[in-house]
């Protein structure tokens, strides 16, 4: 080793090999300790504290406000609800809780039907997304590696364009004098335009179409990681391709199916835009009901009560389920 001698001379034993300049050990110890202790905890506190504080104020606190207002009564005022705490000038404050909105939620079947309707639309659409998205993901995963990014880009492209505009695109196709009806009539297949817009069918179509990329991407991610030699082993052991698919590929792609289904189901449950634009007057989805309570009826306490029940009935179970899934994924 040619450079060895040279460096050895610099680092002779006894000579300070420490590279830190500075005062003698005793002083520097004290200095280092003081300098160190304070910023260490502080830095971490600031880094975690800023986003934590933001979310506490702008995410958690709002739900407390929603809960509070759901217990108030409607009033013709701005803001249009009664106060919970009445201050009568003396030292006595009266707390007025009003459970009327919740009772009304139970009495009027409209709300129950809307919650059920949301679940149904989300569940059925998720199933269809899975059926349509699985072959797409498998197809991409089986393309040669250099062509996969192109196909993926084709899946991602609609996902990056506006949801609103993608829903809008269907209206031109489906409406009374839309492209589909025009073509079918000009071909002589039908005489009267089909009614496709403002139906439940249109809502399902819109939800499936909008959230299909959310299904394909996680499915692809799972299928792409699948070891090809597993299928070769299955074939080697005498399994026909479709059987190998059913016994090897399908069970192993379960994590992707679960992740994709979550990504479709969760936003579909609370969907507002699609039922508002494509659904009929009898398409009941809870997101739309909440919107109407707030914007059309200006009943803020009612809208809040709908939101609270939606949180308890739909969102919290989904979050728990998701956490459970994440935990199993970590341990599996």
């Amino acid at each position: 080793m040619s450079g060895g001698d040279h460096t050895a001379a610099q680092a002779a034993p006894g000579q300070g090999v420490a590279s830190r300049p500075g005062p003698g050990p005793a002083v520097s110890w004290l200095g280092q300790r003081l300098r160190l202790r304070v910023p260490k905890g502080l830095g971490r506190g600031v880094v975690s504290g800023i986003p934590l504080g933001w979310l506490l104020v702008f995410f958690l606190l709002p739900f407390a406000v929603v809960l509070k207002i759901s217990l108030a009564d409607t009033a013709i005022a701005m803001p249009p609800y009664t106060a919970l705490l009445d201050w009568d000038g003396e030292a006595v404050a009266t707390l007025q809780l009003n459970f009327g909105k919740y009772l009304f939620l139970l009495e009027d079947t409209l709300y129950l039907a809307a919650y059920a309707g949301s679940l149904k639309v989300a569940a059925v659409s998720t199933l269809f997304c899975l059926l349509i998205g699985y072959p797409m993901a498998l197809f991409i995963a089986r393309q040669p590696a250099e062509r996969r990014p192109l196909w993926l880009a084709l899946v991602i492209l609609p996902f990056w364009t506006s949801l609103l505009l993608r829903v809008y695109a269907w209206i031109g196709l489906l409406q009374h004098n839309g492209v589909i009806n025009n073509i079918l009539i000009s071909l002589g297949i039908i005489d009267q335009p089909l009614v496709m817009m403002q139906t439940d069918f249109a809502v399902y179509l819109g939800v499936v179409y909008t959230y299909l990329p959310f299904m394909v991407l996680p499915l692809y991610a799972t299928l792409e990681k699948l070891d090809d030699t597993l299928l070769e082993a299955a074939a080697d052991l005498g399994s026909a391709p479709w059987k190998a698919f059913l016994t090897v590929t399908l069970p192993l792609s379960r994590p992707g199916m679960v992740a994709g289904s979550m990504l479709v189901f969760i936003p579909a449950v609370g969907e507002f835009v699609i039922p508002a634009l494509m659904g009929g007057p009898d398409t009941l989805m809870i997101g739309r009901v909440l919107w109407d309570e707030f914007f059309n009826n200006r009943d803020w306490p009612m809208a809040s009560a709908v939101a609270v029940v939606m949180m308890v009935v739909l969102v919290i179970p989904v979050m728990l389920l998701r956490n459970g899934q994440n935990k199993t994924a970590e341990h599996g």
């Binding site: 934590l52 609103l164 505009l165 508002a276």
Partner: protein, 279 residues
């Protein structure tokens, strides 16, 4: 690698892609239709693009949306990076459980609930503190940052989880203080995640209708709000033209991004092969 020629799979998959692109292609074609009756073809004309560029309402809304998306995405990247970093690199800190729970919650929260909750908060805050005054740019930005930072935090967190923490330890070991390590090592290494987090936030913010509708006030209509009110009245040739323009912009972006990523990947593979061969 086993290549099975499965025609049925190909047919099913291509049908899926056709389903994905049929409405988009139709909309692009119809944007060049001369007729105001949108779906009845009466000849090629780019005139709706001209009309669109004259439409002050749409242009104004687009300007508001671009501004809000830009500011929100930038703030969300800062907050989301802090959150993602704290969650994946700090062992324990006060509020870790709360932060873990809240950081991705906006992603599963129905937009109607988030929108309503934020509006009620802003009304209550204005009543108590006098801030924010009315609804407008400030309330829009606060709301958009809140749900966009969730996207950034998730992207940053997964990037940090993939990234070997040993590299940061190496920098500490060489004498860099924690904040230097963050600036010199962590930031450059998560830069791709920050870019995609920003782009994702920008898109989500620019596209948001529901939450914006709750928290914006009169005079502050974002582009999706204007489109929504137009679409409620039926299809409009101007919206077709607008949608086509947006798809072209996004399309070019996605194609460039994919092409560039593929190019870098190929280059890197070449260099790694050369290095392994001892060149």
């Amino acid at each position: 690698m086993m290549r099975r020629r499965s025609t049925s799979l190909k047919v099913l998959a291509l049908t899926g892609f056709a389903f994905l692109y049929l409405p988009i292609v139709t909309m692009v074609v119809l944007s060049f239709n001369e007729s105001r009756l949108v779906t009845v073809w009466s000849g090629f004309s780019p005139k709706w693009y001209g009309e669109l560029l004259q439409d002050d309402q749409i242009l104004g809304a687009a300007a508001i949306s671009l501004k809000i998306a830009f500011i929100s995405a930038s703030l969300a990247v800062v907050l989301g990076t802090l959150a993602g970093f704290a969650l994946s690199r700090f062992n324990k800190f006060r509020g870790k459980v709360a932060l873990t729970g809240m950081v991705s919650a906006p992603l599963v929260m129905p937009e109607v609930i988030t929108g309503l909750a934020l509006l009620l908060l802003f009304v209550a805050m204005e009543g108590l503190l006098g801030w924010p005054k009315g609804r407008g740019v400030v309330t829009l930005i606060i709301s958009h940052v809140t749900f966009c930072m969730a996207y950034v935090a998730v992207v940053v967190q997964s990037r940090l989880a993939d990234m070997d923490g040993v590299i940061e330890e190496a920098a500490l070991d060489l004498g860099a203080r924690p904040w230097r390590v963050f600036v010199d090592i962590t930031l450059p290494m998560i830069a791709p995640a920050l870019v995609s987090g920003w782009l994702l936030s920008f898109t989500v913010s620019f596209d948001d209708l529901v939450i914006s509708a709750f928290v914006s006030g009169p005079g502050y209509s974002t582009l999706p709000m204007v489109i929504f009110s137009k679409v409620r009245l039926g299809v409009s040739p101007e919206v077709n033209a607008l949608a086509t323009m947006m798809i072209v912009v996004v399309g070019i972006g996605v194609v460039l991004f994919t092409w560039n990523a593929a190019r870098l990947h190929r280059m890197r593979q070449r260099e790694e092969r050369a290095a392994a061969a001892g060149l």
